[in-house]
């Protein structure tokens, strides 16, 4: 028995650990550091129909226990991802790929989802309706339940693989959005994307990021992520892939307790590029210490009656 095995729609995960979208490119760079096959899955960088250069620099700023980014969905575009990145990944690892799908209109999402879901190693798509760093699209789809609902229905029609929807924490009522997304046919949720934040330069008085605002990630946002996953997991019946500030195996367990079924690691890759393998190594020992046989016993334990 593999104590770390988790089964989710479209995803048979040998462990619940995967790098978060945007923090791991398309896998090539980290493959120079370790064998990608040890991962549970890989969430690749957002893909849009056309290539995108993203926002002007500076695009990142450090904050207390966190960081801001305003990359702005830079990516080589759907064609190149289909022709180069995904085949490269297929050749170099057999791990399920979750394709992060972004856009500026319903048509964009539908186009990318329809095509990218035909790639043999893409086992699920992650619909990014929560990017705070682009002016149109992105987060605009993720803050209005009805808009999100309609988008998901359309995407579900074209996608050949299960659709996970990435939620924005920048909302008054996350449960409303989650329910609308579930009703729209989503197979799972991923949460949370970044909180919108800003940092000013002491000398110039101006925002450090050229885009002014950016998305706040890292340990600073972990309590918000835990709270939202705790609330949403009790109100929907589709599984959640949790993220937001995870830095160690103990954090992974906290996310599972809250109600996530698997987790993604974002900013922590920057502090320690070997963070995913270290966490995977540590999990069995931690399960022993906590008295669990199987990692799935942790899921939702904060609110489930035992």
């Amino acid at each position: 028995m593999n104590r770390l095995q988790v089964e989710l729609p479209g995803l048979s995960l040998k462990n619940p650990i995967m790098p978060a979208s945007g923090c791991f490119g398309f896998g090539r760079e980290y493959s120079r550091l370790y064998d990608l096959n040890i991962l549970g899955a890989i969430m690749i960088k957002a893909t849009t129909p056309k290539p995108r250069l993203g926002n002007p620099l500076p695009r990142v700023a450090e904050t207390e226990a966190g960081m801001l980014n305003s990359i702005g969905l830079q990516n080589p575009g759907l064609d190149k991802v289909m022709e180069e990145e995904l085949p490269w990944l297929e050749k170099h690892c057999s791990v399920p790929i979750i394709a992060n799908v972004a856009g500026f209109s319903e048509e964009d999402y539908v186009e990318v989802a329809g095509k990218i879901s035909t790639a043999p190693n893409v086992r699920a798509i992650e619909l990014n309706i929560s990017c705070p760093n682009v002016k149109t699209g992105g987060i605009a789809f993720g803050t209005q339940p009805e808009v999100a609902h309609n988008l998901i229905r359309k995407v579900k029609k074209v996608s050949r693989v299960p659709v996970y929807v990435k939620l924005s924490p920048n909302v008054t009522n996350i449960v409303d959005i989650a329910k609308a997304v579930e009703a729209g046919g989503a197979d799972g949720l991923t949460m949370i994307n970044t909180l919108i934040g800003m940092k000013l330069d002491l000398k110039t008085a101006k925002p450090i990021l050229a885009n002014k605002t950016g998305g706040l990630s890292g340990p600073a946002i972990k309590p918000v992520a835990i709270r939202m996953i705790y609330e949403v997991s009790q109100q929907v019946s589709i599984p959640i892939i949790g993220m937001g500030g995870i830095c160690c195996a103990e954090d992974v367990i906290e996310f599972l307790y809250a109600g996530a079924s698997a987790v993604a690691i974002g900013s922590a890759n920057f502090a320690d590029p070997y963070i995913c393998p270290s966490i995977i190594d540590r999990l069995p020992g931690l399960l022993d210490e906590l008295g669990f046989n199987h990692i799935t016993e942790c899921i939702g334990r904060s609110w489930k009656t035992q």
């Binding site: 945007g22 923090c23 791991f24 490119g25 090539r28 760079e29 980290y30 120079r32 550091l33 960088k45 056309k50 290539p51 995108r52 250069l53 993203g54 620099l57 500076p58 695009r59 990142v60 700023a61 450090e62 207390e64 226990a65 966190g66 960081m67 980014n69 990359i71 830079q74 080589p76 575009g77 890292g218 340990p219 830095c247 900013s267 890759n269 920057f270 502090a271 320690d272 590029p273 070997y274």
Partner: protein
């Protein structure tokens, strides 16, 4: 190859106002082949600060498995670094990026090395390597003021060295470009590292020469995965073609990227 290693501090001292020299020991040194590459340092355990700090490798000694960095205390990260003592360990990721090309200057040719402030450190290893190939080196080093000057003697041992300070408190007063002009320095290849305006001025001044510049940008991953440090190429100003400073650079051929 890139490696992560806890390296031990074998020497750490202040060498100018706010400027520190730190020598670290570890097997990672065996991978350090190109002058101009950098390391990505975690200056403390835990989450404060969260991100690594990119610092250039300023000299390498494979026999003793030691390398040296020179850094200026800028903000919280470098301040914490400066408090470490000999014997402490530092979490080093590296070597990262592509360094200065050594084979662009032939033996008996002259290389001009121009550095500004904390852009100077990587030029030291570069100069050593050029000299050992029989290349003649000339250094023009710019500092803010007298108390910021470091490594003058070390560079002098390798070749002619001009010092300029912005306030004229030491060496020549003015910019490195002024010095190159007034001294009428001639050269075959130019290697530069320092503030963007300096790099720009050099690029503009010597459009027909072989010029290599080293860039700085805010970084997260340091290995090319996060798109934090992307710059446009001259070839495609608005389009989607780009270079990553961390993995395609930090050294570029002049004209390759937009400054």
């Amino acid at each position: 190859m890139i490696q992560k290693e806890m390296c031990t501090i074998t020497n750490h001292q202040q060498i100018a106002s706010n400027i520190f020299e730190m020598t670290l020991q570890g097997d990672i040194v065996l991978l350090m082949d190109e002058p101009g590459q950098f390391v990505h340092l975690k200056v403390s355990e835990g989450i404060d600060p969260l991100l690594r700090r990119p610092i250039s490798i300023s000299s390498v000694n494979k026999e003793s498995r030691q390398f040296t960095i020179i850094y200026r205390v800028q903000g919280r990260g470098t301040a914490l670094l400066s408090k470490k003592r000999t014997g402490d360990v530092v979490d080093v990721l590296g070597p990262l990026g592509n360094g200065f090309p050594l084979d662009e200057t032939g033996p008996n040719e002259t290389a001009l090395l121009v550095g500004g402030g904390i852009g100077i450190p990587p030029l030291y290893e570069l100069s050593c390597r050029l000299v050992s190939k029989g290349i003649k080196v000339v250094h023009v080093l710019g500092f803010a003021s007298k108390d910021a000057v470091f490594y003058e003697e070390k560079f002098m041992k390798l070749g002619t060295t001009y010092i300029a300070t912005a306030d004229g408190s030491y060496g020549r007063k003015g910019l490195v470009t002024d010095v190159i002009e007034t001294e009428g320095i001639s050269f075959d290849t130019l290697y530069a590292c320092g503030p963007i305006p300096m790099l720009k001025a050099l690029e503009d001044k010597f459009p027909d020469k072989k010029v290599f510049i080293s860039m700085e940008e805010r970084m997260c991953c340091g290995i090319g995965a996060c798109y934090a440090c992307v710059c446009h190429t001259k070839f495609d100003k608005e389009g989607s073609s780009y270079k990553k400073v961390c993995s395609d650079g930090p050294v570029f051929r002049a004209g390759e990227v937009i400054l």
